[in-house]
Symmetry: C2
Subunit: 229 residues, 2 copies
Amino acid sequence: MRASELTLVRNLPLFHEVADPHFEYLTAAALLQRFPPHVVLIDEGALPDFLHIVVEGSVELFAAHDGRETTIDIIRPVTTFILAAVIRDEVYLKSARTLTEALILMLPAEKVREVFSKDAAFARAVVNELALRYRGVVRALKNEKLRSSAERLANWILKSDEQQGRAGHVTFACDKRTLASQLGMTPENLSRNLSLLSKHGIKSGSREIVIENRSALSAFAQPTSLIDG
Amino acid sequence: MRASELTLVRNLPLFHEVADPHFEYLTAAALLQRFPPHVVLIDEGALPDFLHIVVEGSVELFAAHDGRETTIDIIRPVTTFILAAVIRDEVYLKSARTLTEALILMLPAEKVREVFSKDAAFARAVVNELALRYRGVVRALKNEKLRSSAERLANWILKSDEQQGRAGHVTFACDKRTLASQLGMTPENLSRNLSLLSKHGIKSGSREIVIENRSALSAFAQPTSLIDG
DNA sequence: CGCAAAATTGAACCCAATCAATGTTCGTGG
DNA sequence: CCACGAACATTGATTGGGTTCAATTTTGCG
């Protein structure tokens, strides 16, 4: 593993306060691997071998049952995922696949648990990380159950615009079918919702969305920190 | 606080390994209070004052937005709730109300955080508790997104029967409207689903459900440890 | 009993998924 | 550089699960 990548990981909140020898112990046995897009990294139901960390690219967490499938979260750098299963040493409840090409750091699960029980600073960092993720899932659940698909899309546009510097135009990082899946709707429904939202202050092109009337969009979306963070 | 209750709390996984002085520090300032049914204990959006623990009775966690409302979880004794908000000292994302009469133990949030940063055993226990809850929410999300309302009901019947000793008949602990809300459907829909399930091995009375053909019900419900635990 | 609340049943409606057809984009090879 | 094909995107029609509204029946309790 390169020094620059090591530094990147070292600076994660999760590892920042860990004692040096413990950090070295963890990373000595780590694997850093590059994966092409659409590769399954984790199968739900399996026992955790590694704690995964997305260093570059993006990873989709999803779950399937009886022929149906649903996206649970999208993970972007630099973040751990499926920490809860590793800590508890219980089966994964979600699968994970790369969306784009991705660089993934993998720390042996057994060693993570070992350091966790020896290093109090690490234990506290794990709590913070877990609490953060927990709140993320609660937000996802609220977003799903308390909003229509059009409202989810409207809020996604507002949030993406924020992330892209409030320029008033949002460019798509991926296909619309992938976006649709992230937002919990079909591609057809995304299309219809985009044209619906043209009544609420947006203009949608093939590669980008322009916000023409932010307050109208916001009035429709009703963003709230209790869901959107 | 009575000794018996103190022992109960002391024996929770969350507090079992905590050093004596820390435990006493926490419980010295604790409040133990009895609430009637349908009382709101926590409002989403507020900052946490206390870590709550259900000692007796049951508590519903729910969230509301724009006139809609949804049940997120039902908490039964003896369990903490909304630990993540207390640890991170951030606003509650969910509200909580008593379903039945309930006995609630409340530990000052500030002191919980204090002991958390001093007591490594407590920190580790918090991780386990949080990881458990995290997985609970993921399961709830999967249950919601990957199953129809009739399937959720069928699985609820199977699980309740397990909890009541696999006797083949499940008695309702609450009104059907409350049950409907827990299962994420309207009372009307619950009625229809109950009659639908009569084609899949159950007979539903006004106060109980009888499982006449468990394998048929199970075939319809398709329970899985990856959702139902 | 008799009444109020809860539960059931029926009808209409709504959101979103599915199926089907058409239109667009974009990468590729002639 | 253009033509072509395949995947992606849009549009329309239909279906389905679920809610809402309204009316009726049952339940439980004074």
